[in-house]
């Protein structure tokens, strides 16, 4: 399994390289953002370990440029800052997991194996209807105007259901199957609340109500 290790601290890089090799990876090393970006675009890696603080740039920018070039390999980011906003930013840039420094090699290996396993079964499909693009892997909706919106689990499943068959009417009962709830069993009011939330995102007319029948995703609007 080929793996790209992007780390500028030579001590860490050397030690990690040895341990990753011992775990069965074929490791390429990059110490600068420039080198990392080139390797990530050209070569085919099974996974990437990416340090964010690089001498010639930010690791997040490297990651963004890979993702915009539709490179989908799983990426684990290493960061010295551990607050939640950094983690969110890392994942928004396209990372699959993060690990705060200092870390233990065993934990790094466990996380690496987890994101590789996760990436194996996943589809990197984009569901495109009208100008709307639903990224199934990342649970992101891109609007016709180009803005991205993160979706919660239920929002994503409802939207995927509606967008998979644009123009088809889904009854509330069919949509309820997409809901989970902790407390009482989900009912039709819950569906209505979610549809309201989705309409705020995609526009009032995009999800149409058919009185007495259900909801339709309108591809043309």
């Amino acid at each position: 399994m080929r793996l790209l290790l992007v780390e500028d601290d030579t001590l860490i890089a050397e030690s990690l390289n040895r341990q990753l090799t011992a775990a069965g990876f074929t490791v390429d090393e990059a110490g600068t953002a420039k080198q990392a970006e080139r390797l990530g675009q050209q070569e085919d890696y099974r996974a990437v370990v990416l340090d964010l603080g690089l001498p010639d740039g930010n690791g997040l920018d490297v990651l963004k440029s890979w993702r915009s070039g539709r490179r989908t390999m799983p990426v684990l980011i290493l960061t010295a800052r551990g607050d939640w906003q950094d983690k969110v930013n890392g994942l928004k840039a396209g990372a699959d997991d993060y690990l705060a420094k200092p870390f233990q090699a065993e934990e790094l290996l466990a996380r690496l194996h987890a994101i590789i396993r996760r990436s194996e079964g996943r589809s990197n499909d984009l569901l495109t209807v009208g100008g709307f693009v639903l990224d199934e892997n990342r649970q992101y909706l891109t609007l016709p105007n180009g803005t991205d919106h993160s979706l919660t689990g239920t929002e994503f499943r409802l939207l995927r259901c509606l967008m998979a068959r644009p123009g088809r009417v889904f009854s509330k009962e069919q949509l309820i199957e997409q809901l989970y709830s902790l407390s009482d069993s989900p009912n039709e009011n819950t569906i209505e609340a979610y549809v309201r939330r989705l309409r705020k995102l995609v526009g009032q007319d995009t999800i149409e109500t058919r009185r007495g029948q259900g909801y339709v995703f309108n591809a043309n609007s």
Partner: protein, 447 residues
């Protein structure tokens, strides 16, 4: 919220008030003087008209008594005494005019069409100062048509009226002067606390005082309170960061020295137990650094800081959904994305992040974050459907008084951080069993 400034904010309050109040006072006084002139004019004319009308009625009465015979009308000394005004009476072709010098003017009026009061310009040959006010009445007495005219010289009246008006002007000017000084005095009196504030601030800057103690007027009290609160926060923060740095350097230097000692000792071999010992020292340093870092990062309640709870919650839920693709993270709220809470953004992120991270770790399928607010508090609740916590531990979670330095973040429940933040906002944290059996954490932060 921005409002149009009424005056240039760089101008002084004193100057703005003076520029506004002084011209306004002068203009109002001038207007009053002008209106006074108009009223005076109207009043004197009404008065003269009334007199003229009365005298016409008197003459008419006299003529009726004498049977409309001019010769029988007593125009002797009595008449001259009673009558202060010029008059003319015409019965058929007979005229009588008094005094004689007004004859040409009044005779011309006998054939006039107008009745009632009207103004007549005086010809130059009659020695009067201005216009005349005449009252003309036509009537029939003893079947004879009768015209009665009584006239008065308005000129004299005008002169007294003007001198009165002039005096009013003088008094008005005096009043304007008094008004101006009253305004000046009032502004200075009202602004005296500002001067005191300035002095207090100067004292503060020079270090003579540590807080503003001035009795500020009601309008300035929030400002002074805010300033004092800011100073408190600043002091606390300074003290805290000094303490933190001192603690940190103290606790970090020893392990560093220990590790250096071992590394500098070339004779000694690095056997596994020594390696473990060194690693433990380094972990100590890391833990202490982390604890102090977190402590210094939480700001606690602070003026002018806002968080966007829904936006932040969505990001965190989305992120945890990516990290645990087999679990469902849901948001339940009626607040909209632009909604704001007066909590520092980083604090709220840590609060929700740690609670959700926990829920994500323990949930079997589902974790839910609910956000709402009541009139007096901001509430957030995180629930999961995991195994939960045993009931006796549940009560412990809330009462043990978890402190950050007693519990290491990343190990255990990570609730230490949450409890610390909630404490800084004077909030409450309640643990219970969720409907699905997992842990339910309710955080209430007072508004």
């Amino acid at each position: 919220m921005s409002s149009m400034p009424i005056a240039n904010p760089r101008k002084s309050v004193r100057r703005t008030l003076l520029l506004l109040l002084l011209p306004a006072g002068i203009a109002l006084m001038g207007l009053a003087w002008f209106i006074h002139g108009l009223l005076l004019e109207q009043m004197s004319r009404d008065f003269v008209e009334g007199r003229l009308k009365d005298e016409v009625a008197f003459l008419e009465h006299q003529l009726t008594r004498t049977g409309a015979d001019l010769k029988k009308l007593d125009t002797g000394a009595y008449f001259e005494d009673v009558f202060h005004h010029a008059f003319a009476i015409a019965i058929e072709d007979e005229n009588q005019v008094s005094p004689d010098k007004w004859q040409p003017l009044l005779e011309a009026l006998i054939d006039d069409e107008r009745t009632g009061p009207f103004l007549v310009g005086a010809p130059t040959e009659i020695n009067v100062a201005g216009k005349l006010l005449a009252y003309r009445k036509t009537t029939v007495i003893n079947n004879k048509p009768v015209v009665i005219i009584v006239a008065d010289d308005l000129g004299e009246l005008h002169q007294t009226q003007q001198s009165l008006h002039l005096w009013t002007a003088v008094v008005s000017l005096l009043l304007v002067g008094l008004l101006a000084s009253a305004i000046w005095f009032g502004i200075n009196l009202a602004l005296r606390p500002v001067k005191a504030l300035q002095l207090a601030l100067e004292d503060l800057r020079q270090g003579r005082e540590t807080r503003i103690h001035t009795q500020a007027p009601e309008e300035f009290r929030p400002l002074v309170d805010q300033l004092n609160q800011l100073l408190d926060t600043l002091d606390q923060r300074l003290e805290r960061s000094r303490d933190a740095l001192a603690n940190l350097s103290h606790s970090v230097k020893t392990p560093i020295a220990a590790v250096r000692q071992i590394l500098d000792d070339h004779e000694r071999e690095l056997d596994p137990s020594l390696r473990r010992e060194m690693a433990r020292r380094l972990s100590d340093i890391h833990q202490k650094l982390e604890a102090e870092m977190r402590r210094s990062q939480f700001s606690g309640p602070q003026a002018g800081k806002v968080a966007h709870p829904v936006k932040q919650a969505r990001d965190l839920l989305w992120m945890l959904g990516r990290l645990h693709p087999d679990k469902n993270f849901e948001l339940s709220t009626d607040l909209d994305e632009a909604h704001r809470w007066p909590v520092e953004e980083h604090d709220l992120n840590e609060l929700m992040g740690n609670l959700l991270d926990n829920a994500g770790k323990w949930a079997s399928h589902h974790a839910e974050l609910a956000l709402w607010e009541t009139g007096v508090s901001f509430c957030l609740q995180v629930a999961d459907d995991g195994a939960g916590v045993a009931d006796d531990t549940l009560t412990d979670l809330g009462t043990r008084g978890l402190r950050l330095d007693e519990q290491t973040p990343g190990h255990g429940l990570g609730l230490a951080i949450v409890a610390d933040i909630v404490g800084r906002y004077g909030g409450q944290i309640t643990f219970s069993r969720s409907p699905a059996g997992g842990l339910n954490v309710l955080v209430v932060i007072p508004a």
